[in-house]
Structures are given as structure tokens and as C-alpha cells.
Amino acid sequence: MTHSGPSHTLIVVLAVLLTCATAGALSEVPPRSAGGQALVIPEKHLEAGEVYHVTPGRGTQLMWHGETPLMRMTTTCNRVVGYFVAPFDIEQGQTPLLAGAFRLPVASLSAGIAQYDAQLHGPQALNKAAYPEITFRMTGVTDVEPTGEESTRQSYTLELVGELAVKDKTVALQIPMQLTFQPFTWGTMQLGMGDKLILRGRCEVKLADIGLVPQQGRSNPDMSFQVGEFDFYLLCSTMSPERNLYPDITHEQYRQQLRFVTLLRDFDDPEKGYEFGRTFMHESWDDAKALNRLAWAALTEDGIKTRDLAFALKAAQRASELTGSKDADILNTLARAYYERGELDPALKWQRQAAEHLEGADPQVTGQVRSALKRYEARVKKSQE
């Protein structure tokens, strides 16, 4: 039995995702905020009601299925950024949703197969270099039906009307959705603070309508889907993803940190990301905590594909220098930078030093330092065998 393997399949699949030259107006979706993890909410929407920010990074927010007799593909995204507006107090008969929009970086769409993802993001398909984001703008709702009220939770079904913009194409959508308002409870706290709004729906989109059509002569009908099914699960919160709760971090530093991570992780743009990071590092050259956060993000943030270990080491070294090599949290980062570079001796040296400065440290830092020390010791021991 022969097995075509993922690469063959992907090449075929991507062959169907070619650009359409038809131009179309992009929806007017608000730009990203300075940190990149929320949108700039228009004043009229702030006045209109409660704003629920889409919460990126919490599970799968968007699935995009394509299916043919010979194959089935699912592409997912968990970096959707956006907002929806609801009345502060929803009266009977009132529409529960007043406005909304979201953006998602093309680079964050992934089927979990590197080659497929590269082709999907590439110039022959979604072309992330020219069109880095897909956007959606709500234009209205229809067919609103309350479906129940349980304690303080309110649910509705409705059809969300809006425009999806992919590359230079815009398509009108009408998405049947379930909508649930879940005020904050001690039980929902594990999902973050703030009141919640959950939007769930699915719709089909003809790929041709969003500028993705099979390339003539290269498509296999049994492996070239014409229709994609979009499945949305948007957990939204009144607490912005950019809300800085930490008193020892300035809002500007917090936004810069988010922007750095957004460029690297969500947009997979190491060039812009590390350029921004170097500027941030320069501006924070005398701020050990800011440098430490920068280095730690570069080393450990999930989803960053390109890790500049020299960049991280430089930030961590400076942070350690500023604190006299006595801060356990910073030493833990410095050791991690060496460890990721494969320099086990300095990694172990600094991790041991971190363990010697745990007095008064946050319990979470203490746990991290001790577990990392065990890991490094084991790794060194193994390397010596």
C-alpha cells in the first residue's frame, strides 16, 4: 500500500488555493490597538453599550474545514482579536448585539502541518505578505430569539450579518449563531476576569468568493474543495486582553511587551518583531524587570516560531547585571537563555545561583527555579555519560 504522505496531499490542497484577481473594497474594521491584542473601539460603540473583547489564545476560536471525497482538512486559529458591543441592560425585545468586528492574522492559521501552513500563507494562497490579516465586520443581526435564562446567564440565537474580507475580496455573510452572556462568577474566573460573551456559529463560504479558486489544470476534483466551512467559537470578555493589572509594570511597557509578542507569535514576523524588540530593549536598558520580561517572552512564549537566542541572552545578561546577579527570577531567565543555546555549563551555574537567592521570592518563581535546576542537572549528567 502506498501512502501519499502529508506533503503530497498538501501540495494538491494548496493548488486549489489560488488568488483571484478581482478587486474588492476591504471592510472598515477598526485597527489594532498599540499592543496588538485588541482593536481600537470607535467612540460611538463605546457610547452604545458594553464592550466585550474577543479573548485570543483561549482555545480554538476559528476552525476552517474543507472536505472532499479523498481528503479532509481543518485549519484552526486562536489569535482572533476583536470586539462585540451589547446593550448595558438588555430589555425585552431589544437586540442583544449592537456592533462587532474582528481581525485574525493569516500567519496564525494553522493545520498543524508546517508545509501546508507555509503554502497556505504563501503568495499563491492567502498571501500573508501582502494581506497579513483576514477581517470581519458586523453590519447587523436578524432573527433574534431568546433561548433561555439561567440564573444570570442569558442566551439567544440570531443570525449575524457582516462582511468577511480576505485579501482584496469581501463577501457578505449571514452566520447563524448562538450567543450567551455569562456574567463573571467565581466559577468563570479560571477563564479570566470580566463578564463573558460567548458567540458560537458556523457558515459555509465558497472559496471562489474570497478569492481562492482551484488553479486550472492542476486540480483534482476529489481533492479540491470548493467550499469552506467556518466554525466560530469566540469567547469575549469585558476585560480587555490589554488590561495591565500589574502595578510594577507601566501601561506603556505592557503594551510594548504585547506588541513584541504579537509581531513574533501572531504575525510570525521575526524581522519586525525583533526590530521592535531591539528598540524596546534599548529604551529599557536600565530597567531590569522589563528586560527580564522581554527575554523570557522571547525564550518561552508559546507559538513563536523564530527565537532569537542572542537577543534573549543579551536582555537577560543586562537584567542580571543591573540586579547584581541576585534576583532569582532574572537569573532563572539568564540560565534558560544559556540552556536554549545549548550552553549547559553556564545554564547550570546561573540556575544554581538563582536557587541561592530564593528568599522572599514569589512561590511561582521558586517552583520554576527548582524544577529547572533539576532539569538542567539531569541534562548535564546525561551529557557527561
Binding site: 463573571f184 467565581w186 463578564d195 470578555s237 488590561r243
Partner: protein, 433 residues
């Protein structure tokens, strides 16, 4: 059976309310020795009878009378004639501070050891949160780790003290003890509740002169909410909100007079209850709690009964202050770290009248027909609040985040602090210029 009021009822409260009768000789209506001797001001409700506030401030803000260094702490300022008192953290010690209220000069500072008592939640300063209480020649303070002191207000000498956690099992609720003491007759009364699930007096009364325990209440869990005193049905009531309990006690004995429980979501209450004479109580809680209005009454058997009149979920004041003007209460909704809204709530209906963005989580203070607003970013504002809306006359950044300390107004002098700076601002007519 309820008894009639005595002549000594709420005498200490009145002492605090009735500011010195000495008035300035220069013809100004402002009292020379106006005072703010306890958390929340004369009536513990963040409303005061100051007059003569400027209509608006210069672009740079109201004139600074003085500004001085201070350490971390949320403890607010109390003012007794020419001296103000507050607390802060100094490394592993707590400090009680006395400043000259007119110049900002430090008069005395009393430090005492206050090592961190695990388990605590770090991330926010574990500095003193509780506001001192001045009665007569004494000042009463509680530090974040539950050390309760009585000091000579002139010298800072410690007259007596208690370790509440060790002696009574008092919880510091992991972020540091936060309730402020209250005086009643010759007693000072404190929250002393234990951690949830443990036994220990919810409140305890101490003799002001000796520190001797006068009474201990039944068990209520520890909490941040400061108790208040109110008169109802010819009796004095000590009212406090602890966990899910909303409680009225006899302040003479600590016996529970009435008690009701709300849903668990309001367990994290921190804001001070607001008494609305003749028999209503407003409690607001953050973290999904919301605002509730209770009616305190008597049932057919002549026993106290509590009825919840309404519950409005979207006015969640976490640890800020609210102010009542007529039938409207004004405060800052801070929905479990969502956006902050200054808002007005109709006490008759429990419905919002308006809400306004533009401030971070804020404390409010009512005086002279104005609302003084201080948000956690250190932005200070002067506004007029009516049932129709909020008109902001002036707005200026004066402090750094997190400015959680409630402002203090004595005459036309406003006292503010954050974790670095304490200051006095002139809100009087000169601020117009």
C-alpha cells in the same frame, strides 16, 4: 426587645461628626479645626459639609499646598486639627506617621516589626490598608499583618497593642488586613474574623484606654469591609458586611441583632456599606456581586427582619467608595477588571440613571454639591453629579498608579496619597485663579 435610645447613643460618632466649633475669625465660613477623624469622614459615608470649593481648577490642577515623601500603603489620611495621620510600609516594618497638616512636615513616625505572615497573595503591596482612627488623645491603627496598636497621638508612643491573628485568629485575608476601626462609647471595634471555615469572633470590641477586650461577636469570616454605625428603631446598630453575611449587631454587646445572607458571588465584598436612614442599607460588591438595597424592619413579633429590595448586578464597587445625594448613589462600577464606569443608581428602583467612561477604577467623595473623583491612575477630577448626568469641570493627573487610597477633605484642603507621595491640595476659591 428593642430598647429606647439612651443619651449616650452614638456619642462618639457625634464627637466625630461635630467638628470643633472654633471658626476662623477672618469672616470665612470654613471651620478652622474641621476634622476627618476616621475612615469615610465624619459620618463614614464619604460626604462632608465642606463649603467654598472652587468651581473649576487651573489647567495644571488645584494649587499644591505641600507634598511629602511616604512609603507604600493604601491607608487613607485622617486629620485632627493641625496633624494628619496615616500608615505606610517600611521594608519589614509598618509605620504610623504623623504629619503637620499645614506644612507636610513629618511630626513623628512610629515603626514596628510586621513580618509577612504567609500565606499571602503577592503582586500588590502588602502594606497597611486600614485607616487610623483618632479619638481624644489616642490613635488606633491596624497593620496589614493584623497588629493592632493604640498610640499617643502627640508622640507616637505605643500605649497598648494586640496581635489580632495570634490572639483572636484574625485573618489578613491574604492581601493584608484592610478594615478600619470604629469608635463606640469608650470602645474601639474591629473586624477580627478568621479565615473561612475557622472559628473566631467576627468583630471584637476593646476598651480604648486599656485595650481590654469588652466583647466578642459570634463567628463571621474575616473581610475587608469597614463597619459603620447607624441608629434605627431607637437603637444603635453596628453594621458590617463580611463574606456573604450582611449583619447588624448591638455595638454595646456584640450580639447579633439581624443578619441576612446573599449569594456566594458577593462573598468578596470590600466596599463600606452605606446606611440610608431611616432603615435601608446599600451594599456593593465587586467580582460579580453588584449592588443590593436592603430594608431593615421589624416583623410581627417585633424582631428585626431584613428584606432585599433590589439587586443590580452592574454596579460593582470593589473596594472604592460611593456617595449618596438624595435618592441617587454615585460610584464607580468596576466589573471584575472590566472597564470602569462612573455611574448613578436610582435608590428607589435599583436602575442605572447614567454611566460614563473616561475614568479608571475610582473613589468618590461628595462635598459642596460636587463630586471629587480620584481614580487608580492618579487622575483627580471635580464634577457635578446629578440624576441626569455627570459634568466634569476639571480633571488632572496628580498621583501615580495604583492610587487606591480614598481622598480626605477637610475644609477646602484635599489630602491625597499614593505609594510614594502624600500631598495637600487647595480646592478653595483660589483654585479658580
Amino acid at each position: 426587645m428593642p430598647r429606647r435610645s439612651s443619651s449616650t447613643r452614638l456619642c462618639v460618632l457625634r464627637q466625630l461628626t461635630l467638628v470643633s466649633l472654633a471658626f476662623m475669625t477672618g469672616g470665612s465660613a470654613a471651620p478652622a479645626f474641621a476634622q476627618w477623624l476616621q475612615w469615610g469622614g465624619p459620618n463614614r459615608d464619604f460626604s462632608c459639609d465642606s463649603a467654598g470649593l472652587a468651581d473649576k481648577w487651573p489647567e495644571g490642577g488645584p494649587p499644591t499646598i505641600w507634598s511629602s515623601e511616604i512609603g507604600p500603603g493604601h491607608s487613607s489620611v485622617v486629620v485632627d486639627a493641625d496633624t494628619l495621620y496615616t500608615m505606610c510600609r517600611r521594608d519589614e516594618k509598618d509605620a504610623v506617621l504623623a504629619y503637620n497638616a499645614k506644612t507636610g512636615e513629618l511630626v513623628w513616625e512610629k515603626q514596628y516589626d510586621a513580618p509577612i505572615r504567609e500565606p499571602v497573595l503577592r503582586g500588590f503591596p502588602l502594606s497597611p490598608h486600614s485607616t487610623p482612627l483618632v479619638v481624644g488623645e489616642r490613635i488606633f491603627t491596624v497593620g496589614g499583618m493584623t497588629e493592632f496598636h493604640c498610640l499617643n497621638k502627640k508622640t507616637g508612643e505605643i500605649l497598648w497593642w494586640h496581635d489580632l491573628m495570634r490572639e483572636l485568629g484574625t485573618s489578613h485575608v491574604r492581601r493584608g488586613y484592610g478594615a478600619s476601626p470604629i469608635a463606640y462609647r469608650d470602645m474601639v471595634i474591629l473586624n477580627t474574623g478568621p479565615n473561612r471555615g475557622q472559628d473566631g469572633p467576627g468583630l471584637t470590641a476593646f476598651k480604648q484606654d486599656t485595650g481590654e477586650v469588652v466583647w466578642k461577636s459570634e463567628t463571621f469570616g474575616g473581610g475587608y469591609t469597614s463597619p459603620i454605625l447607624a441608629e434605627f428603631n431607637g437603637e444603635d446598630h453596628l453594621i458590617v458586611a463580611l463574606g456573604a453575611d450582611r449583619i447588624g449587631l448591638d455595638p454595646s454587646t456584640g450580639k447579633t441583632r439581624w443578619r441576612t445572607q446573599v449569594d456566594f458571588q458577593s462573598y468578596g465584598i470590600m466596599a463600606t456599606p452605606l446606611w440610608i436612614a431611616p432603615g435601608k442599607l446599600l451594599c456593593t460588591a465587586g467580582y460579580g456581586g453588584g449592588a443590593r438595597l436592603f430594608k431593615i424592619g421589624l416583623n410581627d413579633e417585633g424582631e428585626y427582619a431584613v428584606e432585599e429590595l433590589w439587586h443590580y448586578l452592574k454596579m460593582q464597587v470593589t473596594h472604592g467608595t460611593v456617595a449618596r445625594i438624595g435618592d441617587v448613589v454615585y460610584g464607580c462600577h468596576e466589573g471584575s477588571f472590566g472597564p470602569a464606569f462612573l455611574m448613578a443608581l436610582d435608590l428607589k428602583t435599583g436602575k442605572p440613571l447614567w454611566r460614563k467612561r473616561g475614568f479608571a477604577k475610582a473613589n468618590v467623595l461628595h462635598a459642596d454639591g460636587r463630586l471629587i473623583i480620584l481614580d487608580e491612575e492618579g487622575t483627580l477630577a471635580l464634577a457635578t453629579a446629578t440624576p441626569e448626568g455627570l459634568e466634569v469641570h476639571s480633571k488632572v493627573k496628580v498621583l501615580e498608579r495604583l492610587s487606591w487610597t480614598a481622598p480626605t477633605l477637610v475644609g477646602t484642603t484635599l489630602y491625597l496619597r499614593d505609594h510614594h507621595t502624600i500631598m495637600a491640595l487647595d480646592l478653595g476659591p483660589t483654585a479658580n485663579q
